[in-house]
Amino acid sequence: MFEIRIHSRGGQGGVTAARLLAMAALHDGKYATACPFYGAERRGAPVVSFVRIDDHPIKVYSQIRQPDLVVVLDASVMDVVDVLNGLKKGGRVLINSAHKQEFAGFATSHVDLTGIALRENLVVAGSPILNTPVLGALAKMGICSAESVKKAIREMFSDEKNVQAAEAAYKEMSL
């Protein structure tokens, strides 16, 4: 079972990203469970959501304690949250940043999702939308296939800009 924890702020689309990833995994022929942190979320507050992907039906409902991958959609949460908490030995980190980031012991990838969202004009209520571009980055990391990502995004959004943003992230992503 592959376990992913997504850090973001309420309203940035962390939950939708988890949902899209689960949809993409389903299109890949796998089983997936996605869930927001069980609580009363507030806009702007640091939040987490979780995705589990497996070849078999997933029976676990308790929270992910030792993720294989941590995704940070908003680097500013790192000031208040230990995003590496519980990350498995040899685990990976994907961070939304224009600059290279390093965490000792963990393979870290970065991509400027915010820049891509602004360039593609994916902005809602003044906030760049990160949940579709991040799927392109996850596909580049091999978490799901690029084809399934596009299919999942098209199922949820009618605007092709979202697919373009995912494609841009796929291309610009530094592994």
Partner: protein, 370 residues
């Protein structure tokens, strides 16, 4: 068609396909996305139904009762305090023999204020005459809701059915959902005692000491008859749609020395705990109780029993543990865990089995208890 859906959306989807004529619901906290989604279906024309937003859950159930007595299909949904506020009317729905279907998202009771999963809300309704099923996956939430209409409306039953799903850990979780075309799996409703202006009759009138018990007995008679209807419905569902359900979901129970009994999502996670215990050489099995009312006959002879209660009856004990003790006339290890959304992992569940002390009660996370 396979998609990704939450437990809430899965219930709403099943309701859309069951096509109730009336949906009445209180739309504010502690309400869930279930009725919000159904309201969307009605306004967008995907469901032709009279959607009645009301000022309280008490009124929601009253509106369902009023609609149901005219002989139409009805649905409502609620959670925790909303269910408790309905309590007078839930008794009335069962007593008037009305096949209302309700989804209840199991959440804790305050104070202190808590919005997380617990079963005490629904279990406080256990003596009302409602059938109660507890589900553990998004798929099962959908399947059980479809089946609930057929079971409730069966003329050997004519009792309301409550579909229970764990707050957040199932209501808000997203999993694969395979929807079906129910077709005539849910036949048109026929309520033999529906009101008819051409043949006026009286309902809810005074029933004296010489008669009242007969109506009570009749509820129990139908509750007992519902066992066969549930079995037949689940069998027919499996035949048509390929997914089979029983009164319990048993995992590696046949040769087990110790059985872990639970309800809701813990019952799925328990299967992971059982695999861990088996690797250690402990012959354990999991029995997930799906139907709480009618309470099924459990196959536990010759086994040690560990019961997880995500609920409590103060001054008595874990409600599920007490039911099982009463039925089997044997003592169990009663674990109280997961109250108010308390995090319980498969490692914890395995530990409850390892450290079992039959005949005692253990509150998970509480130190110094007797």
């Amino acid at each position: 068609m396979k998609k990704i859906a939450t437990g809430n959306k899965a219930v709403a989807e099943a309701v859309k396909q069951a096509k109730p004529s009336v949906v009445a619901a209180y739309p504010i906290t502690p309400q869930t996305e279930i009725v919000e989604t159904i309201a969307d279906y009605v306004t967008s024309g995907q469901l032709e139904s009279r959607y009645i937003p009301v000022e309280s859950e008490h009124s929601a159930m009253a509106a369902c009762i009023g609609a149901s007595i005219t002989g139409v299909r009805t649905f409502t949904a609620t959670s925790s305090h909303g269910l408790l506020y309905m309590h007078e009317m839930t008794n009335w729905a069962a007593g008037a023999r009305l096949p209302v279907v309700m989804a209840n998202v199991n959440r804790s009771i305050g104070p202190g204020w808590n919005i997380w999963a617990e079963h005490t809300d629904a279990l406080q309704e256990r003596d009302t005459g409602w059938l109660q099923v507890y589900v553990a996956t998004v798929q099962e939430a959908y399947d059980a809701t479809l089946m609930a209409f057929r079971i409730a409306e069966h003329n050997d039953v004519l009792l309301p059915v409550m579909v229970n799903l764990d707050g957040f850990s199932l209501s808000h979780i997203m999993q694969p959902l395979d929807t079906v075309e129910p077709g005539d799996f849910i036949p048109p409703i026929h309520l033999p005692h529906a009101i008819d202006p051409k043949n006026p009759t009286s309902y809810g009138g005074l029933t004296g000491p010489n008669d009242h018990f007969r109506f009570r007995w009749d509820i129990e008679r139908s509750m007992r008859d519902s066992v066969k209807v549930i079995e037949a419905t689940q069998k027919e569902f499996a035949k048509r749609f390929g997914r089979s359900y029983g009164f319990t979901e048993d995992y590696r129970c046949e040769d087990a020395d110790v059985i872990l009994v639970s309800m809701g999502t813990f019952g799925k996670e328990a299967e992971v705990a059982i695999d861990i215990l088996r690797k250690e050489g402990i012959k354990a099995g999991s029995m997930r109780l799906r139907w709480f009312r009618p309470f099924p006959k459990l196959e536990l002879a010759g086994k040690e029993v560990v019961v997880i209660d995500r609920d409590y009856s103060f001054g008595s004990g874990g409600i599920l543990a007490k039911e099982i003790t009463a039925q089997t006339k044997r003592e169990v290890y009663s674990v109280i865990a997961g109250i108010g959304g308390q995090e319980v992992t498969y490692d914890d569940l395995a530990d409850f089995v390892r450290k079992r002390r039959i005949g005692t009660e253990f509150w998970f996370g509480v130190t110094g208890n007797v």
